[in-house]
Symmetry: C2
Subunit: 477 residues, 2 copies
């Protein structure tokens, strides 16, 4: 539990984040460097994220399966760009059952290779296509600088892997998933992401091209919150994923992969959190409503609790917690549930029993401005409305914050200035040299080329050469 105040965001954003994750009991450091323990409250949030995504995957024809944790080292070497991208980050099992292994096993950093191997066994004919499989799994990447949820050695994610008969179908799938991720982020997490194309420098190792959804955190840094890769025929050729087409000709498949990870928990924290702690969007909150009974004596307790139970029963369609601890004060409880980001608090005291009322306090609007007196006999409808309002209000606030921190630079000096505290939206010639110069000068990288552009053309903000599209430059997590 959490009695001390968090370090304010304005003072030290990074410290604020670390304290919040631990005090809200979302996660804790593991005894192994860079690994995390996701605590029950954090895991319940992840389970809600999983459910929201999984439902969308199934509704679009995907099925779940499970592929092995261990991958033979030789598999990674089959796709040149892939192994170059991942080999510095690998955890390697060299001993099994007391014996040194003949071929070391890599703990999967991602599963394109082993899934490619299986697809080459399973796929024979055009009738077997498309294959639309997802897995929920843990993966390991040996990162040097780690932060809970944002970058950990082991993390949790879903990775979709699909195989198609044509290039067009693979591209459609890649975009369908990008849309699905955008819909999830905006409508479930109230995180107003920008979907777009990654630059060649920033794409997935082994992909033809990658898309991502990019979110702006409370310190204006960008967080890549989900990726969808068109792998072309790169993995199909490396792993011989082939099918007989309707003319009985052997063809290579076209494949995709895409993922959202526990990193997204970090996106939620840094999009909505304030100096009092976490603020969770109602649709994903493990606890949507906390009821705090107000009493100063056993007599008042006996008076209040039956009404608390009635209200709880009336709210059976919601995720409700009654905090009936007797060893701490209501004020302590308010603070505690604010830290954990519960969207709505209901207070019920002796006066409310008399008047048939309940005091509702919104997490997203502190103090009196966020309070509403509700009639007990209208509780379910009113709470439902309030939660919808909070959900919409979080999205609106985050969108306004994002839009007010995106600027179009007039020149390169202006860009260097903008990315110190925001995103720069600028014409770019798509040359890696210009991207590298920006990174060198400002630490900002290209985040994505948004799909939804005004059109036209301009001059690259860096080199002045003709440019067909605009890109976001930003410092990123």
């Amino acid at each position: 539990m959490s009695e001390d105040k968090l370090t304010p965001r304005a003072e030290n954003y990074s410290e604020w984040y670390n304290q919040l994750v631990q005090r809200a009991e979302l996660a804790d450091y593991a005894p192994v460097r860079g690994c995390m323990v996701v605590r029950p409250y954090g895991w319940a949030l992840w389970e809600n994220i999983q459910q929201a995504l999984d439902g969308r995957f199934k509704a679009t024809g995907h099925v779940n399966a499970s592929f092995p944790l261990f991958i033979p080292m030789s598999f990674l070497e089959k796709e040149k760009e892939h192994v170059e991208g991942f080999s510095p980050e690998l955890a390697v099992v060299t001993i099994g059952g007391g014996q040194t292994l003949e071929e070391p096993l890599v703990v999967r950093p991602t599963s394109e290779t082993i899934i490619g191997h299986m697809y080459s066994k399973w796929i024979k004919s055009y009738r077997d296509l498309p294959v639309l499989i997802n897995q929920w799994a843990n993966v390991v990447r040996w990162e040097m600088r780690t932060r809970l949820f944002l970058r950990t050695l082991e993390f949790f994610w879903q990775e979709g892997h699909t195989a198609h008969a044509t290039a067009q179908e693979a591209e459609e799938e890649t975009r369908r998933i990008l849309d699905l991720y955008t819909d999830f982020a905006v409508n479930e997490a109230a995180v107003p992401v920008v979907p777009g194309l990654k630059s060649k420098t920033e794409k997935f190792a082994g992909a033809l091209h990658s898309y991502s959804i990019e979110a702006m955190m409370g310190d204006t840094k960008a967080l890549q919150s989900g990726t969808s890769h068109n792998l072309g025929q790169n993995f199909a050729k490396a792993f011989e994923i082939q099918y007989l087409d309707q003319n009985n000709q052997l063809q290579h498949c076209w494949t995709t992969s895409w993922g959202v990870s526990t990193r997204f928990v970090g996106a939620i924290i840094m999009t909505h959190g304030d100096d009092q702690g976490l603020i969770l969007p109602p649709r994903l909150a493990p606890i949507q409503i906390v009821i705090v009974p107000i009493f100063r004596s056993d007599e008042e307790f006996s008076l209040v609790m039956p009404v608390v139970e009635q209200v709880k029963a009336a709210l059976a369609g919601f995720r409700v917690k009654v905090d009936d601890r007797s060893e701490v004060t209501p004020g302590f409880k308010y603070h505690d549930w604010e830290m954990r980001g519960v969207p709505l608090r209901l207070e019920i005291g002796p006066k409310d029993v008399q008047n048939g009322t309940v005091m509702a306090a919104r997490r997203d609007i502190p103090g009196k401005a966020g309070k509403t007196l509700i009639q007990q006999d209208q509780i379910a409808a009113q709470v439902s409305e309030l939660l919808k309002t909070i959900q919409a209000s979080l999205l609106q606030r985050a969108t306004e914050f994002r839009d007010s921190n995106i600027h179009e630079p007039k020149d390169y000096a202006d860009l260097q200035n903008i990315v110190q505290n925001g995103w720069a939206y600028a014409w770019w010639c798509e040359d890696a040299a210009c991207e590298a110069k920006v990174k060198e000068d400002t630490k900002a990288t290209t985040r994505c080329i948004p799909l939804d552009q005004e059109g036209g053309s301009g001059r690259c903000i860096v080199c002045g050469q003709p440019a067909a599209r605009k890109v976001y430059f930003a410092r990123a997590y």
Copy 2:
């Protein structure tokens, strides 16, 4: 898909099992020895198992969390019996990010040690107790002889880990979970398990004592299908899991752990399967009903399909699949869905369109005896009844099979005979020497001392010394 017949169970049970798992597309061999790929159909079955268990865990106050995959080698060494039990089976990461690690990391074979470490950080006071956490995870044990689902290097499971203030509460939890597992096995999977106490030889490495649920497979061998361990204060002392009690005295906690794994899929296969393939209990079947339209021409197809769609819509509350493939015959489809164990098949042809009927065929009763003509306008109610009947009938059949293969031996020679093709239920002095002799002579081990015994006392079937309880001896997977 599966055109050939399975090797009959009577001819080669083990071969039958291996063929079924692959032809029903439940799982496949991975490129790494002893690892498995759980295919979408098998994973959907596991997801239903997970849901049935997870709902029961949450209803009894448990919450989910996630602990790291990697455990420092030194942690395992803190509990002497535990490290002795698990060290021959460990997979060890010795290289991370290209560097040799100072302390090798074990890929978790089970998580008592790392969870014990975290509990010692989290638990301070009696107010923090009980801690009731479960995790759904993959674990790795370096087994030499592996079989899909039954024994694989990597497998999937849930592992519950709880901490309590008193010995009594820990024992109650251990037994509560044993009951929960029994209820799940019997009422969801139609697997009539025997709950009981494991012998000291067969208990979990580091436990005070272990309970298990034991199921009889179609070849009369036993399969341990779930375990619940009372860990006493062994891990609490090794990891200093302590709390201040109400008198402000520092006390060690009492802990438990318990698990059900993907092994349970093997239990379902071998409890219910027949020579035509898998038979799934309706409550867990990924597809409860397959609808096969019967048509010989495009005209008949156009006649039949609207009714198929109506019937499907009427069955919206069930998990239904319409097999409208045009490239294969209805006979091929019947065979295919029989292999996959779909409990109920509905056939709809031109005559059914005329007569307002649907032909229902039960998977558990082959041929005409399993067929019922249903009126289309009563389809949902009738199908619901049929699925309940199938569920009950599978349980009854398995229970009768089990009971008819359990015998009480008159003497040791009789026991030796019985365990060749069944379970022996006999008085046992609980001395490990007698248990070892039976194993040596017959390969049968003690499975469990059932909790529900008639009482009284007798003489050990092996040594003739006084015995207070009976035990099951059986060969086991």
